[in-house]
């Protein structure tokens, strides 16, 4: 720089400024800077190894295609706020990981990806019911089903064997063994608080008794029914005889914590508790096993957490973004590698991949064979909508149960929930 005279410096600065102004006005970077780059926002997976694998696959993708990918992660409670701000400002990432109803919530903001899903279904078979319900919005795929995580019974097999308890198959069976477990000092751990795990158990119990919150028309509130009364009576006796009052304050992580701490004898959750116990070599790891989620007189229904990949409409890189989805999901070896890295926490969502090799990596994953389970998103059979989302987010189902188990008469608690749901539906 010492050779640069003041006049030369000023001249170059002026030229640079003019050039930059030109680029900004044209909104197109010069050829030298036109390297394709996409950005992808996803959650901090509860199976962290799969996030590492994703980064590794991203590097290979860049090498193979010449498209650079920047992968950012965010804690799942922050997703809604982050997505809302990206949509409001019409700026942010190109691709986003979508959970549950998100494709319905952001329907107008997402690129149609039916072509991609058709390719994947041709290769792997139909997408599972929960993926259909949540990512296919009024016949149009707004996000590509990526994987799902579902709830099973996680129990202390060692305690069951010691007490000669039968592994439950129905919610009623759970009450029978739960009483014994509580007497042994190892209560059942089902949250009854303002969190999503509470809905993930309450939904399947209600559905397996033939009940629902909203009808399939998405408008008629059906919470006031004999099935709901039965569900509440079941919760009341479980709370009284099989559980501890602490479940009223639980977060999404509490049931895992209590199982791994050696307190709970049974919880309803994805297999994350076992994975954590096994990977951290906790003393409870050997004793934990899983069984399929429980049934009722109206079948075996299961809450599911389907995850998809969506592309924002405001993205300027739609085609490269689609290339990434194809690379990650449609290349069988890459998709397999990705699924294997998730320790069976993330499972494929396509029909012909249900018996995935990941289930054979640990004998305790056997219960994850998904036969005979009907997967649904929250609010089923009502189609997802902003109103169903609001009913979910206001925790009306958990609060109805919490009211009932803490002394509000059953009918009064149901009437409260009905009034609140009607308010939201008609609003």
């Amino acid at each position: 720089m010492s050779d640069l005279s003041r006049r030369q410096f000023l001249g170059r600065a002026a030229a640079g400024t003019a050039g930059l102004a030109g680029i900004l006005a044209a909104k197109t970077p010069p050829a030298v800077a036109q390297q394709r780059e996409i950005s992808y926002l996803c959650w901090n997976n509860f199976a962290p190894a799969s996030d590492k694998k994703l980064a590794e696959i991203g590097q290979r993708f860049a090498k193979d295609t010449g498209i650079k990918i920047k992968i950012d992660h965010i804690a799942h409670p922050q997703q809604a706020a982050k997505y809302a701000s990206e949509v409001q400002s019409q700026a942010g990432h190109d691709l986003i990981e979508m959970r549950m109803h998100f494709p319905w919530l952001y329907e107008t903001q997402l690129v149609e990806v039916s072509d991609l899903v058709a390719e994947l279904e041709k290769k792997y078979g139909k997408a599972l019911s929960s993926a259909q319900e949540t990512a296919n919005v009024r016949g149009v795929w707004r996000a590509v089903p990526q994987y799902h995580t579902f709830f099973v019974g996680s129990y202390r097999e060692d305690l069951f064997k010691k007490a000669g308890l039968k592994v439950p198959d129905t919610w009623e069976d759970l009450y029978t063994v739960g009483k014994e477990l509580k007497k042994m000092g190892h209560p059942v751990g089902i949250p009854i608080s303002q969190n999503y795990d509470t809905i993930s158990t309450a939904g399947p119990v209600l559905w397996s008794l033939g009940g629902m919150e909203i009808d399939r028309d998405g408008k008629t509130v059906r919470i006031s029914s004999p099935a709901t009364e039965q569900m509440i009576e079941w919760y009341k006796k479980m709370f009284r005889d099989c559980m501890e009052p602490e479940v009223l304050s639980w977060t999404d992580a509490s049931n895992n914590d209590t199982l791994n701490a050696g307190k709970a004898g049974w919880i309803h959750n994805p297999i994350s508790a076992y994975i954590v116990a096994r990977n951290r070599k906790m003393v409870t790891a050997d004793g934990i096993n899983h069984h399929r989620s429980l049934a009722g007189p109206h079948g075996r229904h299961e809450t599911d957490v389907p995850r998809h990949i969506g592309i924002w409409k405001f993205s300027k890189n739609v085609e490269p973004a689609k290339e990434w989805i194809r690379y990650l999901l449609a290349k069988k070896d890459v998709y397999d590698e990705y699924i294997m890295s998730g320790d069976a926490f993330n499972l494929p969502v396509y029909a012909s991949l249900l018996d995935h090799p990941v289930l054979k990596t640990d004998p305790k994953f056997a219960a994850l064979k998904q036969e005979g389970v009907q997967f649904h998103a929250y609010g089923w059979p009502a189609p997802p909508s902003d109103k169903v989302q609001r009913i979910t987010n206001e925790f009306i189902l958990p609060n109805m149960i919490a009211k009932a188990v803490t002394g509000t008469p059953t009918k009064e608690a149901i009437a409260w929930a009905e009034k609140e749901m009607k308010r939201i539906i008609s609003g």
């Binding site: 809302a84 409001q88 107008t108 303002q194 602490e246 479940v247 009223l248 304050s249 701490a261 989302q389």
Partner: protein, 311 residues
């Protein structure tokens, strides 16, 4: 021109100097200094506030076109059980927290005003709760109230103050409110204590000496000297704390998420739930602005009181 000659006639200013000369005048210099601050306030405060007002009076939903609906959001909120509960919670939470912070803050300030060993260290330590990021310290409290690992219950049981298993701090309505108030008081106490201490230090010693000469005891000195002299400081502290406490978010969000059964929701946490998580930006904005007129009234009344005390 000869050396030493005198120039006659009007002085014509050189054009290059004109701006500097103008800036010598307070009339121009003042606005020049204030303009950047005004621009910042407009961008960072006025614009978002106007946007919030617009959203609150519209049916805005994330990413969809919105329409003006007047005050319908504000009226409609009363139909929501969660909102009515939140409204009540906000007053209980703020009332209890500010009252406790005032009483405890005054006590702490009086203690800190005494001759103490390690005075500076203790005064510094008092500020700690205020310095640690709220979300982090609240996580610590969450662990202390946690049903599985509660340190509070463990200590209570060990000291024989509680019957096993101890209170379900975050799972029962009144205990949960007690927990969030406790954390807010712990967090806000240093602000009260240090500000009141600053007020105490500024009270002239002669007033106490005169009161003492008149035979006033410690209580009489507190009521007739300390308290009247502290009134403006107390009014300001209470004013700020009332506003901050009404709009608190972190403590409830980390400790209870508004539960159990909405019994600890505050305007900010409910606004997040409705506005961001459910996408109803219009209603979310209405919730967060609900108390704006009331708080404006409180600010106006308090400031009027302070002015009367000072002048």
């Amino acid at each position: 021109m000869a050396v030493g000659s005198v120039r006659v006639g009007p002085v014509v200013p050189r054009p290059g100097l004109r701006v500097w000369e103008l800036l010598d005048h307070e009339r121009f210099l003042g606005p020049a200094f204030v303009t950047p601050a005004l621009l910042l306030i407009t961008l960072l405060v006025a614009y978002p506030f106007c946007m919030a007002l617009y959203f609150a009076m519209s049916n805005a939903f994330i990413g969809r076109p919105s329409h003006f609906i007047g005050l319908r959001n504000f009226v409609g909120l009363w139909e929501s059980d969660a909102f009515r509960q939140t409204f009540q919670n906000a007053f209980v939470f703020t009332g209890a927290s500010v009252a406790l912070k005032l009483v405890l803050g005054m006590t702490l300030a009086l203690l800190l005003n005494q001759q103490l060993w390690f005075k500076r260290m203790i005064r510094g330590a008092v500020l700690l709760p205020w310095v640690i990021p709220t979300a982090l310290s609240t996580l610590g409290w969450w662990w202390m109230f946690n049903s599985l690992y509660s340190v509070v219950n463990w200590t209570g049981l060990a000291l024989g103050l509680m019957d096993p298993p101890g209170p379900n701090w975050l799972g029962q309505k009144y205990y949960a409110m007690t927990a969030v108030v406790t954390v807010n008081v712990w967090r806000g106490l240093p602000f009260f204590a240090i500000t009141i201490l600053a007020g105490l230090v500024s009270i002239p010693r002669e007033l106490y000496e005169a009161a003492e000469a008149d035979g006033a005891g410690p209580v009489a000195r507190f009521w007739h000297v300390t308290l009247p002299m502290l009134k403006p400081v107390l009014a300001i502290v209470v004013l700020f704390s009332t506003i901050f406490t009404f709009s608190d978010f972190n403590i409830v969000y980390v400790l209870t998420h508004g539960g159990p059964i909405n019994s600890t929701h505050l305007f900010a946490t409910l606004a997040r739930q409705v506005g961001l998580e459910s996408g109803q930006i219009g209603q979310g904005a209405a919730i967060s602005l609900y108390l704006f007129p009331v708080l404006m009234l409180v600010v106006w009344a308090q400031l009027k009181f302070v002015r009367r005390q000072v002048y």
